[in-house]
């Protein structure tokens, strides 16, 4: 299973790799990282049939996570990838907007990895 993690904070990559080290070692999952919405879209253009689930931050310089969410849900329909938002903003407005744009889930930072693991069914 492949996950695309989108966040402008570089340490997120280390964090995910270590948190899911066992799953990665067992070969069950694979993580790809993008530092911005633009990078994420570029990746999707090339590998859209691969990505199974996208985890995206909202607040990033350049394209925001919500914009990315909207674009992905519009452009990729066969099948539409699942998108989960991971953000420091737990406020109602961001949540509602994400849901309106078709987000499949919404988690706030600091990330509870036990919960995340359950949601990803790993």
């Amino acid at each position: 299973m492949k996950f695309l993690v989108v966040d402008d904070e570089l340490d997120v990559q280390t964090l995910f790799r270590q948190r899911f080290r066992k799953e990665i070692r067992d070969g069950g999952v694979d993580f790809v990282f993008a530092n911005s919405g633009e990078q994420a879209l570029a990746y999707m253009n090339e590998h859209h049939h691969e990505a199974v689930l996208i985890l995206s931050d909202i607040n990033m310089p350049g394209m925001s996570g919500l914009e990315l969410l909207g674009k992905i849900k519009q452009q990729y329909t066969a099948p539409t990838p699942k998108v989960m938002m991971l953000t420091a903003y737990g406020d109602a407005e961001n949540y509602n907007q994400a849901m309106k744009l078709g987000a499949d889930d919404f988690l706030t930072k600091p990330v509870d990895f036990t919960l995340l693991r359950e949601k990803l069914m790993l």
Partner: protein, 699 residues
């Protein structure tokens, strides 16, 4: 000053002294007109009709005068044509149209001269003098008035002598240095007007005198003459009545008798409306608005000023419009509606600018006037003194007898007035002191609210900025516990290499935990510093780090409010700067302000959907010989030249009402110049960019 002059021109009304009621006269004229043939009599009747109706129905007055002029031309009746032109001019005069007025009166003057009609010449010369007086051209006004006086003396026209004396009195009265001389002339005209029993003449004179005394702050004398004027006006429907009520109202407002003042000025407005005298409606409303304001009736004052604003704007009365703007600005300031206060302050500045141009040329000619006036003065004296000398000698005997008695009374009166003045000044001082304290506390509140506003911008950014490091601190520390457990397992199994690898990961993670912990710490510290009030201390600061931190905070703050906002952020820091001695929280406030402004304008431009537009904000620093430079540049729409010089003024904002306090740049300016001895400047190209450059001296 101008108010003083306004009264002078009412004198032209003097030609008409009614002893019958207005309606009766008009009826009788109409009766004559129906029957009369097309002859010179009809011309004269039409002129008389125009004269009688010019106050009540100006349009009809113009029509009658124009008919009279045409008929006189047909009949080659020069005197009739000259008189008709005079009343056509009169219509434009009341209408405030100076150009048309002068044109008609000059034509009329030529005609009177061609038939050597001295009374007519003197009359028109006086009128033209009054016209120039109204326009503020003292020298020309004096020239025409003096010519008029000379001819009036020649033919012994008392009315003309009185009006000219009054005009000269008002011209002198306008300047503080010659106001006493102005009073003398006005007082000299009084006995003549009483002798002539002309209501309009002495009502105007009393108004002039009251106003002159009021201007010299001799309120008792002022009120005395205002009362005389009101009594003399007998509440008749004349333009002069409008004036006496308005100015008397002002006088009473000055002494704090607001109820009386308001009732007088309401009467003035009502009458002006009835007579359809546009400029006067505006002026009377302005007076009433001033009084309401002085009486602290803010809602009534606001409504009155607003009404005056519209009328004065249409009438093109700049001087009065200026006073109205000033009043409105003060009202909004009192209501703490600062954007509107600032709006009117701007209008006030603009109209002052346009008046100022006129004023400068006036000042120049006034300098010459000081010289010419004294020369003219001796001419007047020559004209009037010969006669006066004879009278004087006769009177002297009598005067000596009563002089002592009158002198004593005058001294007592003078002492009383002085005492009253002293008391009033004391009162005024107290009020001023109170106002100053109010002003100071308002200022402190405003500065505080600006700080709080920018703190609000920060809070959202801070939430995001703190949750992110916390995410790492929590998760990496959690991970390390797991990793250490795994490491122990590996050691137990004897897999030392694996254990070492895990230990390396744990150490890396510890570094990350430490890094993000410090990051959160500095954000919280920064926030505390930002909201701290009181004395700020300069300390060695890494300006690049500070700029970068606030660029991020500003961005996240805005992004939190508007998640569609987006921009490129370009940084170019000069790493050779090192530490600079400055007050970090103050400098942070400046940077945050410049940065959020830049974000705001690129965001606005983005909304215009210009194809190919990429919003971009650049922050750069540079070390020069003895100073450092910090630049914040945006590629928004730039700053229009019209507002360029106002951007550092307090309360100036281009944002919609409620979005900005208008204090950000003004505070930034103070912090940079007063707090750090530096400079802050803006450069811009409209439609392309705006750049703020801060220069700070370094030792």
């Amino acid at each position: 000053m101008l108010k003083f002059r306004i009264l002078a021109w009412i004198m032209i009304l003097l030609i008409c002294s009614d002893s019958f009621s207005q309606a009766k006269i008009i009826d009788s004229f109409n009766a004559v007109l129906v029957k009369s043939k097309e002859d010179t009599n009809k011309v004269n009747t039409l002129v008389a009709l125009s004269k009688a109706t010019r106050g009540s129905t100006p349009a009809e007055a113009l029509l009658s005068a124009t008919k009279a002029m045409k008929l006189a031309q047909q009949l080659k009746f020069v005197k009739g044509e000259a008189n008709a032109l005079k009343y056509i001019g009169m219509f434009y005069f009341y209408n405030g149209n100076n150009v048309e007025t002068l044109d008609n009166w000059l034509k009329s003057l030529e005609l009177f001269k061609s038939i050597n009609d001295k009374a007519g010449i003197s009359n028109i010369l006086g009128n033209i003098g009054a016209l120039y007086d109204r326009q503020g051209d003292d020298e020309k006004s004096m020239q025409y008035s003096l010519q008029s006086l000379q001819i009036a003396e020649e033919i012994g026209d008392k009315m003309r002598i009185a009006t000219t004396l009054q005009n000269i009195g008002n011209t002198y009265g306008r300047k503080i240095s010659t106001s006493r001389k102005g009073l003398e002339y006005l007082l000299r005209a009084i006995p003549i007007s009483e002798e002539l029993k002309d209501q309009d003449l002495y009502v105007t004179l009393y108004t002039n005198l009251g106003e002159a005394y009021s201007k010299m702050n001799k309120l008792d004398s002022a009120l005395f003459y205002f009362q005389k004027g009101i009594k003399a006006s007998r509440n008749s429907e004349e333009l002069t009545t409008i004036y006496i009520y308005n100015y008397a109202g002002k006088g009473y407002a000055k002494t704090g008798k607001f109820d009386l003042a308001i009732s007088y000025q309401k009467r003035s407005v009502e009458l002006a409306k009835k007579l359809d005298a546009n400029m006067d409606i505006g002026k009377s409303l302005l007076g009433l608005g001033d009084t309401y304001f002085a009486n602290n009736n803010i809602p009534a004052s606001l409504a009155t000023y607003k009404e005056a604003e519209i009328i004065l704007k249409n009438a093109g009365a700049k001087e009065e419009l200026k006073d109205t703007y000033q009043g409105l600005s003060k009202i909004y300031e009192r209501k703490k509606d600062y954007p509107n206060a600032f709006h009117y302050q701007n209008l006030l500045l603009a109209i002052k600018d346009s008046i100022y141009n006129i004023e400068t040329s006036k000042t120049v000619s006034n300098l010459q006037l000081d010289y010419t006036l004294s020369k003219k003065e001796s001419q007047i004296s020559l004209l009037t003194k010969n006669k006066e000398l004879d009278d004087l000698q006769l009177k002297r005997q009598k005067i000596t007898n009563i002089a002592f008695g009158v002198g004593f009374v005058l001294i007592m009166l003078f002492a009383f007035v002085l005492y009253r003045n002293y008391q009033q000044k004391q009162k005024a001082n107290e009020v001023l002191e109170h106002t100053l304290t109010d002003l100071k506390s308002t200022q402190t509140q405003l500065i505080h609210s600006e700080k709080m506003a920018s703190l609000g911008e920060l809070t959202a950014g801070i939430a995001h900025e703190i949750q992110n490091p916390l995410n790492f601190v929590n998760n990496f520390s959690d991970l390390n516990r797991e990793l250490l457990a795994e490491m122990l397992e590996e050691i137990d199994k004897g897999n030392l290499q694996d254990a070492k690898d895990i230990a390396a990961d744990v150490m890396d993670n510890e570094t990350k935990i430490n890094h993000h912990g410090k990051r959160a710490d500095s954000i919280v510290k920064g926030m505390l510093q930002h909201s701290r009030t009181g004395a700020a201390v300069k300390e060695p600061t890494d300006i690049n780090a500070l700029a970068d931190e606030y660029l991020r905070l500003g961005f996240h703050g805005l992004r939190a409010k508007d998640n569609s906002f987006n921009t490129n952020m370009i940084t170019d820091y000069d790493n050779s700067i090192g530490l600079v001695n400055l007050v970090p929280q103050d400098m942070a406030r400046v940077l945050l302000n410049l940065i959020t402004n830049a974000f705001y304008v690129v965001g606005e431009k983005k909304k215009e959907n210009i194809p190919g537009y990429e919003p971009s904000v650049t922050v750069s620093t540079k070390k020069l010989d003895d100073k450092i430079e910090i630049r914040v540049r945006d590629n928004g729409n730039g700053i229009p030249p019209s507002v360029m010089e106002k951007i550092f003024q307090p309360f100036f904002t281009t944002k919609p009402t409620g979005e900005g306090t208008g204090l950000g740049l003004s505070m930034s300016y103070d912090i940079i110049t007063k707090g750090h001895g530096g400079t802050i400047q803006a450069t811009t190209k409209e439609g392309e960019y705006a750049e703020f450059c801060i220069e700070l001296p370094i030792k």
